[in-house]
């Protein structure tokens, strides 16, 4: 019984973190997810404006660029295969590497937990809307990344970095809107700091802990105690700190190498669930399509389903948030439009392929209907468990790895935002990284509702300045992309193998 006081103390620490954090989270959520009540359709139906903002942008650019994301597909694959890379540029960042880095930051819990949340709250029909959101999100992502490369910053020492802060300030200055550009860039950076500690950190730490706790025996297991969240968070924070503060980059490289394998394993696990339940697949597909348009709740339900699908898709593929533009900008190319082409593959891989796989597994096994626990990774885990008993264990490892690599990516996005706001200095660098590590502990100790609310809010806020900038620079993007495609079609730009002289 010697440990009892310590446990009580630690348990109260977890609760204190939670009780301190929940009101802040609730307040921000109420602002960001300000929703118009649509009582004339059905009672209780609400339309969050932020989701409208993201989806309208996706549809606008899809129409404005005449379905660019679908026409970009073939050329994007040629680009990542290096068909257009000048041999003299060997040794620089390739299109493949820029895409892979961006994808490893994006693929993660949004694909596993986010999909489960969408389906648990919105029903199987939410899947279809997620796919639609993914398809239009491909276009938004292409637009962001074209601008990201066009207006990227080359530091005095030769390092290359870009992202919305640079295209908002530089791109809008070119159009005579310098002040607006600066204001939007600063806002974007502030929201990125919030998004980095929220969705990019606390949400990840929280779900990683919840998954570790669940596979080790739940509340009765070794991680079931009150202090477990804080201790798990501390260990995770040390691992994050070892890389971002300690500079042990080899850990990051090992993780990043494991992530693609884990992603492949994850898709294989989903396929196993599908194959084992092959006869149920048509029915699940029908449920996804039919319930997207006519859920049991009637017309009001459609809006609810649609919102869940769109919201989770945006959280998963980050299209319109601007985060990926930071990761894509380091690519070696003279043509910004090339990375715009390659970037459309990111939401495709993330949402159209991986999220759909998760959705099918969850819908087929029906685990989304189990409301005994909060929807999240467990929902997906339970779906896997119905087929192979040890899958949840591997899934737990995958979740922790995904969470870890996403955290490292977001610590970088946050750092770029912090140095944009406060200048390049060791003090800014270390302060940001230290704060980031502290939030790992808070995230692992906090209840999911508080964390998920805050994470969503801050991440979605990034879309406000970013998408406003995208609209204002839509003409610039169109010229870049159309000009590039024209030269590509006229044969002015040729694959390396066909070039002469």
């Amino acid at each position: 019984m010697d440990t009892a006081p310590a446990t009580v103390l630690a348990a109260s620490f977890d609760e204190q973190v939670d009780s301190f954090f929940a009101p802040i989270s609730d307040f921000i959520v109420s602002i960001v997810f300000f929703a118009i009540p649509l009582d004339f359709i059905d009672e209780g139906v609400e339309l969050p404006l932020i989701v409208v903002w993201l989806v309208v942008a996706g549809f606008f650019f899809t129409i404005y660029l005449r379905g660019f994301q679908f026409r970009a597909f073939t050329h994007a694959i040629q680009l990542i295969r290096g068909r257009y890379d000048d041999p003299r540029d060997a040794g620089e960042v390739t299109h493949f590497q820029a895409l892979a880095t961006a994808v490893s930051g994006t693929v993660g819990l949004g694909n596993i937990a986010g999909v489960a949340v969408a389906i648990s709250l919105g029903g199987p029909g939410a899947t279809l809307w997620m796919i639609v959101a993914g398809l239009v999100g491909m276009c938004t992502k292409g637009v962001e990344c074209t601008l990201g490369v066009k207006y990227r910053n080359v530091y005095a020492d030769g390092r290359v970095s870009g992202g919305p802060m640079w295209y908002l300030s530089r791109g809008l200055a070119e159009k005579g809107m310098g002040t607006l550009g600066k204001v939007l860039a600063v806002l974007f950076c502030i929201f990125t700091l919030g998004g980095a500690v929220g969705g990019g950190n606390m949400f990840q730490a929280n779900q990683a802990f919840s998954q570790a706790q669940s596979v080790t025996g739940g509340d009765d297991g070794p991680l079931g105690g009150g202090a477990a969240g804080a201790i798990f968070g501390l260990v995770l924070a040390l691992l994050v700190g070892a890389v971002i503060i300690g500079g042990i980059r080899s850990i990051a490289r090992v993780t990043d190498k494991l992530v693609p394998f884990m992603a492949v394993f994850y898709v294989l696990a989903c396929l196993t669930v599908l194959v084992v339940n092959l006869s149920d697949v048509p029915e699940a597909l029908w449920a996804i399509v039919s319930q997207a348009f006519s859920p049991e709740a009637g017309f009001g339900g459609i809006v609810g389903v649609l919102i869940q699908g769109f919201r989770r898709a945006a959280f998963s593929n980050e299209a319109g948030l601007g985060s990926a533009a930071i990761a894509h900008s380091a690519v070696k190319t003279e043509e910004p439009a090339t990375e715009g082409h390659v970037a459309v593959l990111e939401p495709f891989i993330d949402t159209v392929v991986i999220c759909t796989m998760t959705a099918l597994a969850i819908v087929i096994t029906g685990t989304y209907a189990d409301d005994s626990s909060a929807p999240g990774v467990q929902t997906t885990s339970a779906a896997f468990e119905t087929v192979v008993g040890w899958f949840p264990l591997v899934l737990a490892v995958a979740v922790i790895l995904f969470a870890y690599s996403t955290m490292l990516a977001w610590s970088y996005y946050g750092l770029k935002a912090a140095t944009y706001l406060f200048g390049e200095s060791m003090l800014v660098d270390r302060t940001w990284k230290f704060i980031f590590c502290v939030f790992v502990v808070i995230g692992a100790s906090s209840a999911l509702d508080a964390v998920i609310g805050f994470s969503d809010s801050m991440i979605f806020l990034m879309a406000l300045p970013n998408i406003l900038g995208l609209y204002l620079m839509a003409g610039v993007v169109k010229r870049e992309i159309y000009g590039y495609r024209r030269r590509l079609e006229s044969g002015e730009i040729l694959p390396v193998a066909e070039r002469t002289g």
Binding site: G91, V93, T101, V160, A252, R253, K257, Y412
Partner: protein, 147 residues
């Protein structure tokens, strides 16, 4: 068949690769060919990298090229071109060592490729030890391996 104009030698800083360069120089003198000394920095376009790696990549590449140039190529180029009777050129390129040597041989109309038998892995800019083996499989011109 076009007349060859050069001999490509893979140089990685190892003693064997220096012997290969010497053999190449002698042959270049005898056949009146240009001598192309190539140092390939092992690199893959499909390696998985982090955001920080990508941000610094251009800087790192420039540093790797400079190191290869100074430590591996310059001393040998200076020594072999001292007599002034052969045309010696040093090239640094990133890529798969054997594939890159084959590409360079094509670009320079090489009569053959000469490499040393043993590579050492002390410096980062070295060729892999299995390079001669891969070369034999990939090359469209003869490969001369110097012990």
């Amino acid at each position: 068949m076009p007349v060859s104009s050069s001999i490509v030698v893979g140089l990685d800083g190892s003693e064997a690769s220096v012997r290969a360069a010497d053999a190449g120089a002698e042959a270049a003198r005898r056949h009146d060919l240009r001598l192309v000394l190539a140092c390939v920095v092992p690199w893959s376009p499909y390696a998985i990298t982090t955001n920080e790696d990508n941000e610094r990549r251009s800087v790192d590449k420039a540093r790797e090229v400079a190191a290869a140039q100074e430590r591996v190529l310059d001393p040998v180029v200076a020594r072999l071109s001292a007599d002034g009777d052969i045309d010696v050129e040093g090239v640094v390129r990133h890529g798969h060592p054997a594939e890159t040597l084959v590409a360079l041989a094509r670009e320079h109309d090489a009569a053959w490729i000469t490499v040393g038998r043993v590579g050492q892995s002390r410096v980062r800019t070295l060729l892999f030890g299995s390079t001669p083996g891969s070369l034999i499989q990939l090359s469209s011109v003869p490969v001369l391996v110097v012990p």
